[in-house]
Amino acid sequence: MASDYLLEMEGVSKRFSGVKALNNVEFRVKSGEVHALIGENGAGKSTLIKILSGIHKMDTGTICFNGSKVIIQSSRHAQQLGIATVHQELNLFPALSVSENIFIGRLPRKKSGIVDWHLLKKETEKLFSKLGIEIDPTTTVESLGVAEKQLVEIARALSQGAKLVIMDEPTSSLSQGEAERLFKIITALKANGITFIYVTHKLEELFQIADRITVFRDGCYIKTKEIADCSYQELVELMVGRELTSLFPKVQVELGEPVFKVNNLSRNKEFENVSFSIRRGEILGISGLVGAGRTELARCLFGVTLPTSGEIYKNEKQLTIKKPLDAIKQGICLVPEDRKNQGLVLKMSVQKNISLSILSMFRKTFGFIDGHKESATVQDAVAQLKIKTPSVEQLVGNLSGGNQQKVVFAKEFLSDPQLLILDEPTRGVDVGAKAEIHRLIGNFVKKGGSVLMISSELPEIMGMSDRILVMSKGKIVKEFQRSEATQEKILEYAL
């Protein structure tokens, strides 16, 4: 029985600063199968993969690989065990040849110490013919397409004796044709006894490539099934299948007139012809997969990047936004996706972070800061938003994720915005802080503000929004009214 499984993980948990990324999950992969791991963003897939590839250490749990119990110490250790990961960002040396990339670190040498180029080429050709790959070993990697680069990575892993290959979103940047070729090779390798863990958002692929699937949700194991026994509908339901809880109290707000209007906004390769309007008191949700162009849209609206075409209007007046300061002056504020890199200066205190965008409010002669006024304003905001910090002098980097995010909110609220753009406002935030952030958003629209909310969490989008736009591949593909949206419908358009 045990020999059936190449990999068995049991009771695996992992916390990041208090937030449970993985909660007592199990995961079993049979020898020689393609096993798909699916789930929403934040379900814990990438954490599991990082544990398997030795980047993170699990807090509790056991891993049994190839018949023996192991504790994976480092990525090198994972490699030695025979676990290889092909990441979305490839780890290749673009300027070196294909064969050099495959044998880097262990190039065959002649007695004199010089690289044996002839043998290198022959070894690579031998490997490729075994794997059914048709790439010239002497071409440089930079001249290859993405799919071929992935093949080179797989070949490298297998040449090092990998038994288990983890593919993380391998087709996200492949064309249909390239993806088909990749599938063929995976199928061929499977026949040779190689086992795959396959992570993807593209559910339709699974019916073509996977043998079994495992679903994770909110860091928990949900189910493992044979793909043959599943329908597409069932997969979606398994992924999102929770009830909408009272976590997302929808504040009833009388919607006012449209305030902000975006007309045919495009930016090269990021998004195109995006048009929508937002009314006073409205929360407009934007749903979509990672890479659909949502964050890029938010950055552009906020003036971090410039659009290639299109206009933004406020009360029928066209705005010129060339930098974030222009946006802030027009009453547009952004709670960015990545609070540690874009939202906060971690080395600075809570007070200095909160007052950073509104320093001009405290200006005295010669540009001196009115310290009393600053401190009073900040203390006020800290109390109002219930930010838990020993003092406002505390470095922001030492707060918990939820409180850091509240600091970002405090900072944006103090600029008194009319439009608040939220990019994943509750990512990496525990449940309690999440509810409080939702309450803050509700209060904001009650006072007549407008919100554009990007979130990968469907329950959040559906619970909070008045209307929902679905983005896919840089375009708005569907608009739902609050009443007509279901998770299944949204996912159908997003995928």
Partner: protein, 314 residues
């Protein structure tokens, strides 16, 4: 996390210990004339190091300050040799310094190049301009009024020390209590977040490099006046002394953390070491070794404290 006592005052403690040791080794060390001498000696490096603190706080570096000192010194001396008054020469010198710094800042921000590269270019180019202007020969013929800047006293305090004190006080208050200062820390602490916060990062950077240039000009004037001539090879290596003082003073090379008060102590430590080793008749060759060891030691400490802090915040 609160900084531990040693993290906060470590450099000051090292400085006081150093003074204590030297006062035992050499009876002359603690005498008033010697101490005034030390402070006067560090005033040149001190002014530059204060400007360098601003630059490093933004996460940048300015390698061209030594050449800027030489060029402004030469021009200031040249103007006087051609019969212009000291006042005009000083004004031109200050403006020229600010102009050179401004060019650095504009190329860094508009051209999007690393400060290291841009100021390395300026280091070479400004030195070349100095040699062209002077024809490679020192310029004498300075006016009497001008000599007062470097050699004069106010009471018993040398003028360069007074200039250093003024620069220190102004920069300290500006960094600590003004919007400009706050934004300089933010730009260095997290450039991306500062842009997202609506800070005009490019403007701040240009201002900082301009101030650096202005202070280089000021240094050029003080140095030229003190030496009584403008030497085209003056200021070689000044940038390294300034950076050394900043680093010893606890300002992070990664930007966003540090203070000019620390830099002053850094400059004092270098000055005291030089002075002490001179009093003890240690050859200047050895002095360089000691200085080098101290720089690396200081950065090691900085790094260690940072890693410890990171571990706690994770």
């Amino acid at each position: 996390m609160k900084k531990t006592f040693f993290q906060k005052y470590g450099i000051l403690i090292i400085f006081l210990l150093l003074c204590l040791v030297l006062s035992f080794l050499s009876p002359v060390f603690l005498s008033i004339p010697n101490l005034i001498n030390v402070v006067r000696q560090i005033s040149i490096n001190g002014i530059l190091a204060i400007g360098m603190t601003l630059v490093i706080l933004t996460g940048g570096i300015d390698l061209s300050v030594g050449s800027q000192v030489a060029l402004t010194g030469a021009i200031v001396a040249g103007l006087q040799a051609h019969g212009q008054g000291a006042f005009l020469a000083v004004i031109v010198g200050l403006l020229l310094g600010a102009f050179l710094g401004c060019i650095n800042g504009l190329i860094i921000t508009k051209g999007g190049l690393p400060p290291f590269i841009v100021t390395l270019g300026m280091l070479t180019a400004a030195r070349g301009l100095t040699l062209i202007y002077t024809g490679g020969r020192p310029i004498y013929d300075l006016s009497k009024a001008f000599n007062f800047i470097g050699a004069g006293y106010l009471g018993s305090i040398p003028i360069p020390v007074i200039i250093l004190t003024l620069v220190l006080l102004v920069s300290h208050f500006v960094l600590k209590y003004t919007i400009f200062g706050r934004e300089v820390y933010a730009v260095g602490g997290n450039p991306e977040a500062s842009v997202y916060s609506g800070i005009n990062k490019e403007k701040r950077l240009v201002q900082v490099y301009t101030i650096m240039g202005f202070l280089s000009g000021l240094t050029g004037i003080v140095l030229t006046s003190r030496l009584g001539s403008a030497d085209p090879t003056a200021g070689v290596g000044f940038e390294l002394d300034a950076i050394t003082a900043v680093v010893i003073g606890g300002t992070s090379m990664f930007g966003g953390e540090g203070a000019v008060t620390g830099t002053l102590i850094g400059a004092l430590i270098i000055g005291v070491i030089n002075n002490g080793l001179n009093l003890l008749n240690v050859s200047s060759y050895y002095q360089q070794v000691v200085k080098g060891v101290i720089v690396v030691g200081a950065v090691l400490m900085d790094n260690y404290a940072r890693k410890k802090q990171q571990k706690i915040s994770e």
